[in-house]
C-alpha cells in the first residue's frame, strides 16, 4: 500500500471537514422551536439539493448521496469502502428474501446505493442464484431462504442474515491493511454483540439464540457475554466492566437511549484520531462515518421536533460530533 496515494484525497477531505456539523451547530438545531427552523438552519449549512426544499427525508437522503459522491470522486480504490456498505447490502438480501418467501411487496425497502441494488438482489433471490453473491453472503442467503420458507420465522431469518453481516464485516477487518478498517470492524462487531446481549436480556432470549446471533470478535468473549445476558442486566454490566467497553456498562443502567447513544459515540471515538492523519485512507473512512453520524443525529432532532418532544428528551439522544 502506498500511503502517499491518499495525499490529494485527505487534503480535500480536510477542507470538507469544515462543513461538518459541530457540537455548536447541534446546539443551535436543538434551540430551534420547530422542524421548519431546523431545516432552514441545515439549508444554510449547505444541506439539501440547493433548491431550498424543506422535504426532510429527501434532504437527509441527498446528504447521504453527497458523502458517497465525494468519496467516489477522491478515493483511488473504492474496494476499501466495501465494508461500510455491508449493512446496506445485507439489508437488501434480508428484504429480498422476505419479499420472495412471503409474496408481500413493500415499497421503498431497498437501498440502491450499494454493490447489489434492490432489483438485482430480488432477481438473485427469486432465481435462487445464491452463488452470484459475494463471500459468505451466498450461504447465508440460502440458509435464510430455506429457514423462512420452512419455519415462517421472520426473526430467525433476520438473525441469520444479521450474523452473516457481522461475520462479513469482521472478515473484512481481518483482511484489511488499513488500521482504521480493522478498528471499525472490531468496534462494529463488538458493539453489535453488546446490543444483542442487552436486547436479548430484555426479551428473555435463550443462550443458544444469543450465541447464534453474536459474531466472534477479539475484544468480546461472546460465550461469557451470552451467559451474562442470561443472568441479568447487572451481569452484563459486570462483564463489560472488565472490557474496553466499560463506559457502555455505565450507560446501560442509565437508559436504553443513553446506551444507544454510547454505541454511536464509541464509533466516533474510534475514528477521532483520523483528524490528525495526513497520509492514509483513515480520514476518508472517518469522513463517511462522521457524515452518517451527523445525518443520524439530524434525523433524530428533526423527528423529535416534528413530534414535539421536550428538549431534555432530545438531548439524551444526541450523538457526539466528529469535529
Amino acid at each position: 500500500m502506498n500511503e502517499l496515494e491518499y495525499t490529494y484525497a485527505v487534503a480535500r477531505i480536510r477542507a470538507l471537514e469544515n462543513s461538518l456539523l459541530s457540537d455548536a451547530d447541534i446546539e443551535r438545531l436543538l434551540a430551534c422551536p420547530d422542524e421548519g427552523q431546523c431545516l432552514q438552519l441545515l439549508i444554510e449549512k449547505g444541506w439539501g439539493d440547493g433548491t431550498g426544499s424543506m422535504d426532510a427525508p429527501a434532504m437527509l437522503k441527498k446528504e447521504e448521496e453527497k458523502a458517497w459522491e465525494v468519496i467516489e470522486d477522491v478515493a483511488p480504490d473504492m474496494s476499501v469502502f466495501d465494508v461500510l456498505s455491508y449493512p446496506k447490502l445485507f439489508h437488501n438480501l434480508k428484504a429480498a428474501v422476505k419479499q420472495v418467501c412471503t409474496g408481500k411487496v413493500t415499497e421503498n425497502v431497498f437501498y440502491e446505493d450499494c454493490a447489489i441494488p434492490g432489483s438485482e438482489m430480488l432477481r438473485i433471490v427469486q432465481n435462487k442464484e445464491f452463488q452470484r453473491l459475494p463471500g459468505n453472503m451466498g450461504a447465508a442467503a440460502a440458509e435464510a431462504y430455506d429457514t423462512l420458507l420452512h419455519t415462517k420465522d421472520g426473526q430467525l431469518c433476520d438473525v441469520i442474515v444479521d450474523r452473516a453481516t457481522l461475520d462479513a464485516i469482521y472478515e473484512a477487518g481481518l483482511k484489511a491493511e488499513d488500521e482504521i478498517i480493522q478498528e471499525y470492524a472490531e468496534s462494529t462487531v463488538a458493539i453489535a454483540d453488546i446490543k444483542i446481549a442487552v436486547r436479548s436480556q430484555k426479551t428473555a432470549k435463550s443462550i443458544d439464540f444469543m450465541k447464534r446471533a453474536m459474531a466472534h470478535c477479539r475484544s468480546i468473549n461472546t460465550e461469557q457475554l451470552a451467559k451474562a445476558a442470561a443472568s441479568g442486566i447487572d451481569a452484563i454490566r459486570d462483564y463489560l466492566s472488565g472490557t474496553s467497553y466499560a463506559e457502555g456498562a455505565a450507560t446501560l443502567m442509565e437508559s436504553p437511549s443513553a446506551f444507544e447513544r454510547w454505541c454511536d459515540n464509541r464509533m466516533i471515538e474510534t475514528i477521532r484520531p483520523q483528524k490528525y492523519n495526513t497520509f492514509s485512507v483513515g480520514p476518508l473512512v472517518a469522513y463517511v462515518v462522521a457524515r452518517e453520524n451527523e445525518i443520524k443525529t439530524a434525523r433524530i432532532i428533526l423527528t423529535a421536533k416534528q413530534n414535539g418532544f421536550p428538549e431534555d428528551s432530545i438531548r439524551e439522544r444526541i450523538r457526539e460530533m466528529y469535529v
Binding site: L4, T7, Y8, A9, V10, A11, R12, I13, R14, A15, L16, E17, N18, V74, T278, F279
Partner: protein
C-alpha cells in the same frame, strides 16, 4: 589519471543537482497533491497553499548552487578545464554529497510535512503562520548541508 579526476569532480556536481533536485521534485509533488485537494474545495486558499507547496523546492536550488560552484571551481564555466588529480576529484565529489543526500531526504520529508501543514490551513486558515513553521524546520538541515558543501568545495585547492 587527470581525466579520471575531472570525472569524479563532475560526478560530484551531478550528484548535488540530481539528488537534491529529485528530492525537491518529489517533495513539491507531494505538497502539490495536497494543495490541489484543498483548492478543489476552497480556491480562496490558493496563495497560502502555494507557499506551502514551494517550500520543498529550495533543496533543488541548493543543489543547483553547489553544482554551479563546482563547475566554476573545476573551470568548466567561463574558462578552460582545470588539471584535477584523482585525489582532488574525489575530494570534490565528497564535498558535493552533503547537499545531494541531505537535499534528497529533507525535501521528501518537507513535502510530507507541507502536506500536513496544508491540512491545517484547510481547516484553520488563520493558523497559516504556525502551520508554515513545521515544514520550515526541516529546511534547517538542508541549509546546514548547503553550508558544508559550499565551504568544502570552496576550500579545495585546484
Amino acid at each position: 589519471m587527470n581525466e579520471l579526476g575531472m570525472v569524479y569532480a563532475l560526478l560530484g556536481a551531478a550528484a548535488a543537482v540530481f539528488l537534491s533536485g529529485t528530492g525537491s521534485a518529489k517533495g513539491v509533488g507531494i505538497a502539490g497533491q495536497a494543495a490541489a485537494g484543498v483548492i478543489s474545495e476552497d480556491p480562496s486558499k490558493f496563495a497560502k497553499v502555494l507557499i506551502m507547496q514551494l517550500l520543498p523546492g529550495t533543496q533543488g536550488l541548493y543543489g543547483l548552487i553547489i553544482g554551479f560552484v563546482t563547475l566554476s571551481k573545476i573551470g568548466l564555466l567561463g574558462g578552460g578545464a582545470a588539471d584535477i588529480s584523482v585525489k582532488t576529484g574525489l575530494m570534490v565529489l565528497g564535498a558535493c554529497l552533503p547537499v545531494g543526500i541531505v537535499g534528497l531526504f529533507s525535501a521528501i520529508s518537507q513535502g510530507k510535512t507541507s502536506a500536513a501543514a496544508i491540512g491545517v490551513v484547510a481547516k484553520k486558515p488563520d493558523q497559516f503562520g504556525k502551520a508554515m513553521l513545521f515544514p520550515a524546520m526541516v529546511e534547517t538541515y538542508a541549509i546546514l548541508a548547503l553550508l558544508i558543501s559550499f565551504l568544502a568545495v570552496s576550500a579545495i585547492q585546484i
